[in-house]
């Protein structure tokens, strides 16, 4: 499937509105466990009864995973290029990027295998432009200089990881009742571990305060943080639960990460996708 076509479909929610194709997907998912077991795909470990598939209207596990795969392609290529760029200082930065790169590669492989195991064709890897049409030069390809390039490498990594956390979280509801839910949550938490470390490597807190993108983050990344100022959780304004510091606006926003909708995640990823 062509990436742009896929993303358009996701944005229009046409995939989830097409009930007949959704039924087909449920059918392929129904046989997923067996196929996965046969091919030893770790997804198969998350044994789930199939009866709950039809419970939620409009949920579309395959589309959710295709979105996840798209974001993982983006991260995987970014960290590969970062490690090859010569921009990363040795020591902690290189160690951190190498560890994250290892995970993003594993996530790509894992999601592709899972989709194939479910009878779906993984979305093709897009062509990325991490300069966003010349706005950035994170790999120092255009001679912006090591220092600026490194700052951009860190800023983009932070934006990608924080986006990943929010995007996976936004798809959890679409995976409810599917065997993909637990692995997706397992990846989601890893993205959060990455995000925390990259943020701390940049001198920020590992968690997001209000909707602040943080010092040194380009304004273009603000979309990643909009909405993080929410303090209403399950209908409860958590700042009203107490009077002291744990219930301040700052602590109350830090203590909960917010979702990105599929549409919002696609809009962010699309900045870096040429075709």
């Amino acid at each position: 499937m062509n990436i742009i076509k896929f993303l358009d479909g996701f944005t229009n929610e046409s995939l989830s509105k097409d009930t007949s194709s959704r039924r087909d997907m449920f059918n392929t998912l129904g046989s997923f466990g067996k196929k996965a077991a046969l091919s030893a795909i770790p997804f198969g470990l998350a044994a789930m009864p199939n009866k709950t598939f039809a419970q939620d209207m409009g949920n579309d596990p395959v589309a959710a995973l295709q979105l996840a795969l798209t974001l993982e392609y983006l991260e995987d290529e970014f960290y590969d290029l970062a490690l090859q760029s010569g921009v990363l200082p040795t020591g902690r930065p290189e160690t951190v990027y190498a560890q994250i790169s290892k995970h993003e590669q594993a996530h790509v492989d894992f999601l592709r295998a899972g989709l194939e195991g479910a009878g779906a064709t993984p979305v093709e890897k897009p062509t990325f432009d991490f300069t966003v049409g010349g706005m950035f030069d994170p790999f120092n390809d255009n001679g912006v200089g090591q220092e600026t390039a490194y700052a951009q490498l860190l800023a983009l990594a932070q934006a990608f990881e924080d986006t990943g956390v929010r995007a996976y979280k936004g798809q959890a509801g679409n995976l409810l009742g599917s065997p993909f839910l637990t692995p997706a949550l397992q990846i989601h938490a890893v993205e959060a571990m990455h995000a925390s470390e990259v943020r701390r490597l940049r001198g920020l807190k590992g968690w997001i305060t209000n909707n602040e993108r943080g010092a040194g983050m380009p304004e273009a990344t603000q979309a990643v943080y909009n909405g993080e100022e929410n303090v209403t959780q399950g209908g409860v304004d958590v700042t009203t639960l107490g009077d002291d510091a744990p219930f301040s606006m700052e602590a109350s926003t830090e203590a909960y990460d917010e979702i990105l909708t599929g549409e919002e995640a696609v809009a962010i990823a699309s900045l870096f996708i040429v075709s």
């Binding site: 560890q99 894992f110 509801g173 949550l185 938490a189």
Partner: protein, 253 residues
């Protein structure tokens, strides 16, 4: 520096630590018998009676709280874990270990804030969910850290690391038990913050390393973090002896 592994009981000698939480018979549904010795668990406030050789199921089933089933069971389960984390960090915050760095103080203060917020959120959410049936809500738990030395940096950070890692694995494993997507999303909002904590604590313990998402916690082949079911989590947490109030999880896997 050798990395701590993911197991509970990181630092204790367990001389007066008791197994307050204990796995029931293997193969039965649920996490089993979490029965405390009812008399000798209050820190020497009462004379120690005859030793109870093995905790038995409480003769009065009304006394020991069971977490329940379905969404409510999961909420109570999360509430128990958040109570433990909140209590632990409150103690850390109230008396920081000597020689604490500014960075460590900032991280541990934030973790105290976040976990207290989570705890009170679950209390509010469960209060709403049980619709006045207060006996369905997990009561306020009591804690006993045994020999854990809150004045010792290594012990505090190692315990924090175990608690955060355990929290992530617990939420990861509990998501699929939820039916209501609103609760699933709420759990997702919290688990990623727990994972951010886990990462930060791991880096405090081993600066400059890959431990923030270490190979001991994230499976190398798949890039997946741990997911454990409630009975495994409760057994592990129980083995620490930290939770002094007995409860059961007989209706959770």
């Amino acid at each position: 520096m050798k990395k701590n592994t993911i197991k509970v009981q990181p630092v204790q000698k367990a001389t007066h630590r008791r197994q307050f939480l204990k796995l029931g018979g293997m193969g039965i549904v649920g996490a089993g018998l979490l029965v405390a010795c009812s008399n000798d668990d209050n820190g020497g406030m009462m004379p120690n009676p005859e030793p109870e050789p093995d905790p038995e199921p409480n003769p009065d089933p009304d006394v020991v709280f069971d977490l329940g089933e379905g969404d409510l069971g999961v909420l109570n389960y999360a509430y128990a874990l958040e109570q433990l984390e909140a209590d632990f960090y409150t103690k850390v915050f109230n008396s920081f270990y000597g020689g604490i760095t500014d960075e460590e103080k900032q991280v541990l203060t934030d973790l105290y804030y976040h976990e207290v917020n989570h705890r009170d959120f679950f209390k509010a959410a469960i209060t709403a969910a049980v619709e006045g049936k207060a006996d369905l809500m997990l009561p306020t738990l009591e804690f006993d850290y045994g020999d854990l030395d809150f004045g010792n940096r290594e012990q505090v950070l190692t315990t924090a690391s175990v608690l955060e890692d355990t929290g992530v694995a617990a939420y990861n494993g509990a998501g699929r038990l939820l039916v209501n997507p609103v609760y699933l999303t709420l759990a997702g909002k919290i688990v990623s913050v727990e994972a951010r904590h886990a990462s930060a604590i791991r880096t405090l313990l081993n600066p400059g390393s890959a431990d923030f998402a270490g190979d001991d916690y994230v499976t190398v082949d798949t890039g997946l973090s741990q997911a454990l079911k409630p009975s495994d989590i409760i057994a592990a947490v129980g083995a620490t002896g930290f939770i002094a109030t007995p409860f059961t999880a007989n209706k959770l896997p």
